[in-house]
């Protein structure tokens, strides 16, 4: 349900916290009771980030408990 809105929210959190540094991957922890469909969220992530500053950044799901639904970690690109 409304994974598009959720993807946009995740993108907002990632961009805010990355503060312009190039991101490699965003890791989101999702519990079985969070009511989030991973496939749909992944699909929406591509749409939402396309042609933004975080286009191409990966989205990875981590298993969590209960209704957990948090942006757990951000991984940055290796500094050149």
């Amino acid at each position: 349900m409304h994974e598009l809105g959720l993807a946009r929210s995740i993108a907002g959190i990632a961009q805010e916290n990355a503060k312009g540094r190039p991101l490699k991957e965003v890791r989101v922890a999702i519990g079985p009771l969070a009511c989030v469909e991973r496939g749909a969220l992944e699909f929406c992530w591509g749409l939402v980030t396309e042609s933004t500053g975080i286009a191409g950044v990966g989205l990875r799901f981590l298993d969590a408990d209960g209704d957990t639904f948090v942006v757990r970690e951000l991984e940055f690109m290796e500094e050149a």
Binding site: R8, C35, V71
Partner: protein
């Protein structure tokens, strides 16, 4: 996936209408949906010094740990609403159901029955029309209509605006009729004291096990349209068993908002919330 939800549609408008005056206020012009858009000014989760963020170095680049709730912005406004309601001694109830289970009819009957006892105000959430708020007003209560446009649920910021505008009296009950939908409203805390699900005998006994997230999120379940039970072969025992299977602590009330059967027990339960 919710095919009808337009919550991320930048063109989606959310409005609030007072059925008494006809005045319509735009709550969202479609640019900001409230899901943590980066141009919002009222959130405090900016980290101004980078040094306080736990970080480590993996085989790739640096990894920082965030634990940022995806619905954090809604949850924060909901917590503010909860404080606002508690501070005023207002009991806010978030009523959820599939479309047509009888939420508005139940509210109309409740208002008629409890009018002299307690003030009831109502926030109506529907995608379109102010019909439900007009029905509530005719039943004798103050109401506001929120139209979510393509959005399929109410969010905490809409309730913040509606509550301030309705200005409910201390000791009153504020009923929030959510958009008819058993999926998305389960995720969005509005700051209510509790969620109450309404199901009707015509929907079949298995709604609670088909939509377990919602039935787990509520404290009470009202089984409405009991007057129709014999006509649709509704099996009350099976329905109760299904509700308790997903939510063993749920309080179950059987009634007919049309005939008034069971309404006394429901009104007494509402009255007891204020004690």
């Amino acid at each position: 996936m919710c095919g009808t939800c337009g919550c991320a549609d930048p063109a989606n408008e959310v409005s609030m209408t007072n059925p008494e005056t006809g005045v319509k206020t735009l709550l969202k012009n479609g640019v900001d949906h409230g899901h943590g858009h980066k141009h919002d000014h009222d959130h405090d989760d900016h980290h101004h010094e980078g040094d306080d963020v736990p970080h480590m170095h993996g085989p790739g680049g640096e990894i920082i740990s965030l634990e940022a709730a995806v619905l954090g912005k809604n949850d924060k406004i909901a917590a503010q609403n909860r404080g606002w309601f508690q501070g005023r001694g207002v009991i806010a109830l978030n009523i959820v159901s599939s479309p047509g289970a009888g939420k508005t009819t139940l509210l109309e009957s409740t208002i008629r029955q409890m009018k002299d006892e307690v003030e009831i105000t109502v926030v109506e959430g529907d995608q379109m029309t102010a019909n439900d708020a007009e029905r509530i007003q005719q039943a004798g209560a103050r109401a506001l209509q929120i139209n979510t446009g393509a959005g399929c649920h109410l969010e905490a910021d809409m309730i913040a605006a509606a509550a301030r505008s309705l200005d409910p009296q201390p000791g009153s009950i504020m009923m929030i009729e959510n958009v008819g939908n058993l999926v998305c409203p389960a995720m969005f805390d509005l700051g209510e004291k509790m969620k109450i699900a309404v199901i009707s005998t015509t929907e079949g006994e298995d709604k609670p096990i088909k939509y377990p997230h919602m039935f787990r999120a509520v404290e009470w379940v009202v089984i409405n349209k009991m007057d129709l039970a014999p006509h649709v072969d509704f099996d009350e025992e099976t329905c109760r068993k299904n509700i308790l299977q997903v939510n063993p602590g749920a309080k179950i009330l059987c009634l007919s908002a049309r005939t008034g059967e069971g309404m006394d027990e429901w009104c007494a339960a509402l009255g007891a919330l204020q004690a």
